[in-house]
């Protein structure tokens, strides 16, 4: 069945777009992997009690209104659905199929959000090492409080999670802050007036952490996790000395990057964003990708954060209404005008953040596992280059990097940056490994049904 718009992802961008489209009478279907709407940023918002909302803060609680608007919008919502293929003809395949695993869109909007940037450091594959976002998801979705948590790495999420743990009565044991002190001034020069509310918020978070008296190591380098069958400690360099602390739960963080696989499998052209040190799809001002009829909104198109994603979703929806013949160009432009102004305000902080928190582990040491699934180290990739490997697709044949169950989601960016450094070429030239369906595990029966 052909729908006016198939939206993938029920986070801030997907819900905002769906709500606007449905209100204008468009036939819109929203597919989402999670059991309830909100994306990762507002994960579990409908089930969260007042206490949890207070712990997680006002920006989390604000998701309740967005979810309520989405629920009331009339958009068809299909939770628990993983998209495993999108074709350039805008056919969308989902699992579990349940007899409705194939949809076609006159337009498709990808609002699949971000993933945490992998943090390839020694020991990051040990049980007990998690992404900071993962730990936060456990708090949002299962009321789980991390005990004795060590936060390591850098970026706003690290500070946010620390303050949430403090508010919940489970303060972290330590923060190992790897943000480079030398990046403070170059970053501050990129601050614009519109960014000041965000800067203020960041300073408040840091003040809360200081007031709680949490050990906070700055300028951390040489971060490595210790342990045999699980994390037992962390060793790092800070303040001119090496320090080792015991820990069995470590949350690592080094920012977030667009979730690329859906846009790549559909054939969208991507480019390397040097400022954000990641790939994102090439988009026009409305979020249109290089595949006709396919649009991308929110962090999947480049990292801007949840507030920006809402406006990007509405801007994309305005252009979809034009494509569907429900608005002319002038009507589209009028509908999107306020969102464009708001989007500019929310994006004003990005140059500062991108410069302040440049990734710490883009090109890891030889011994570090880059591809977690197939256990390929940085040394393996460099050895492949020494034997003539020219890029990520060849690296699959040389090393199996990117060929495990996660299909290169966790290693893709690092494989590119390691190869680029070894080849002496820019990451954008080296490119990303080709992404093929199925994007998610499917049964042979589902595959048979789809062919």
């Amino acid at each position: 069945m052909t729908h006016d718009c198939v939206i993938v992802g029920a986070g801030p961008a997907g819900m905002a777009a769906a709500s606007l489209l449905a209100r204008h009478g468009a036939d819109v279907v929203v597919l989402d992997e999670q059991p309830a709407p909100g994306g990762q940023i507002w994960r579990g918002i409908e089930a969260a009690d007042a206490g949890l909302r207070a712990v997680l803060g006002g920006e989390y609680a604000a998701g309740a209104a967005a979810v309520a608007e989405f629920r009331a919008s009339g958009a068809s919502y299909r939770p628990g659905q993983s998209v495993w293929n999108i074709t350039p003809e805008l056919d969308v395949w989902t699992t579990p199929a349940d007899g409705a695993g194939h949809l076609r869109g006159r337009t498709v909007l990808l609002a699949v959000g971000a993933m945490e940037r992998p943090v390839p450091i020694p020991g990051w594959t040990l049980p007990g090492a998690m992404g900071a976002g993962g730990v936060q998801i456990l708090l949002k979705s299962a009321n789980l409080l991390p005990q004795g948590l060590v936060l390591a790495g850098q970026g706003p999420l690290l500070y946010q999670l620390a303050t949430q743990c403090i508010a919940a009565g489970a303060p972290p044991a330590a923060i190992l802050d790897a943000a480079r002190p030398a990046d403070v001034w170059p970053a501050l020069r990129l601050l614009r007036p519109a960014a000041l509310p965000y800067l203020h918020k960041g300073l408040l978070l840091q003040g809360t952490i200081r007031a709680a008296g949490i050990p906070w190591y700055r300028g951390v380098t040489r971060l490595r996790l210790l342990g045999g069958d699980a994390v037992a400690g962390v060793r790092f360099h800070s303040g001119g000395q090496d320090t080792e602390i015991a820990a069995n739960l470590v949350a690592l963080h080094d920012g977030v990057i667009p979730a690329q696989h859906a846009a790549r499998v559909a054939g969208c052209t991507h480019r390397w964003d040097a400022a954000q040190a990641c790939f994102h799809p090439v988009l026009d001002a409305w979020g249109s990708a290089t595949v006709p009829g396919l649009l991308v909104a929110g962090d999947a198109g480049g990292i801007g954060g949840a507030a920006a994603a809402v406006h990007q979703g509405r801007i994309a929806a305005a252009d979809i209404l034009r494509r569907l013949g429900r608005l002319d160009e002038a009507g589209r432009d009028r509908l999107a005008a306020a969102d464009r102004r708001a989007l500019a305000r929310h994006l004003a902080i990005r140059p500062f953040l991108d410069r302040r928190y440049r990734p710490i582990a883009l090109v890891p040491d030889d011994s570090v596992t880059v591809c977690r699934c197939e256990e390929v180290t940085a040394a393996d990739l460099r050895a492949a280059v020494a034997m003539g490997c020219q890029g990520p697709n060849q690296a699959k044949s040389f090393t199996r990097a990117g060929m495990g169950p996660c299909q290169g989601r966790m290693c893709g960016t690092t494989v590119t940056t390691v190869l680029a450094a070894a080849l002496g070429r820019p990451p954008g030239d080296v490119g990303h490994a080709r992404v093929r369906p199925p994007l998610k595990p499917i049964t042979v029966g589902e595959l048979a049904e789809a062919t």
């Binding site: 206490g51 712990v55 993933m115 049980p127 007990g128 998690m130 456990l138 789980l144 409080l145 069995n248």
Partner: protein
């Protein structure tokens, strides 16, 4: 490792490696195991190294377990159910 905030959700009983465990209704299998203090979910096919969940959002595939006889399920993407039987996975993928 993890403790629970006060949580009014109903108790849900499932089996891990033949042993009964309690979860909260609505937990993912990954959250239920972590709440029970279990961080190692499997060993890897390539070297037999221990692994547990990393992302809790369906990206990393490190939380793969056997659920009710079906291997390679993402524990973070499956909601725990009464009587569900969960097992670790060891070494090469079946």
């Amino acid at each position: 490792m993890f403790s629970r905030r006060d949580d009014p959700r109903a108790i849900c009983r499932f089996i891990f490696e033949g042993q009964p465990l309690e979860a909260k209704a609505g937990d993912s299998v990954a959250a239920a195991l972590l709440a029970a203090g279990i961080t190692q979910f499997r060993t890897t096919p390539a070297t037999g190294a221990p692994r547990g969940p990393w992302c809790l959002m369906g990206v990393c595939f490190d939380c793969l377990v056997d659920i009710d006889g079906q291997a390679n399920r993402q524990a973070c993407q499956v909601t725990v159910a009464e009587g569900m039987a969960v097992r670790r996975m060891y070494g090469p993928r079946p």
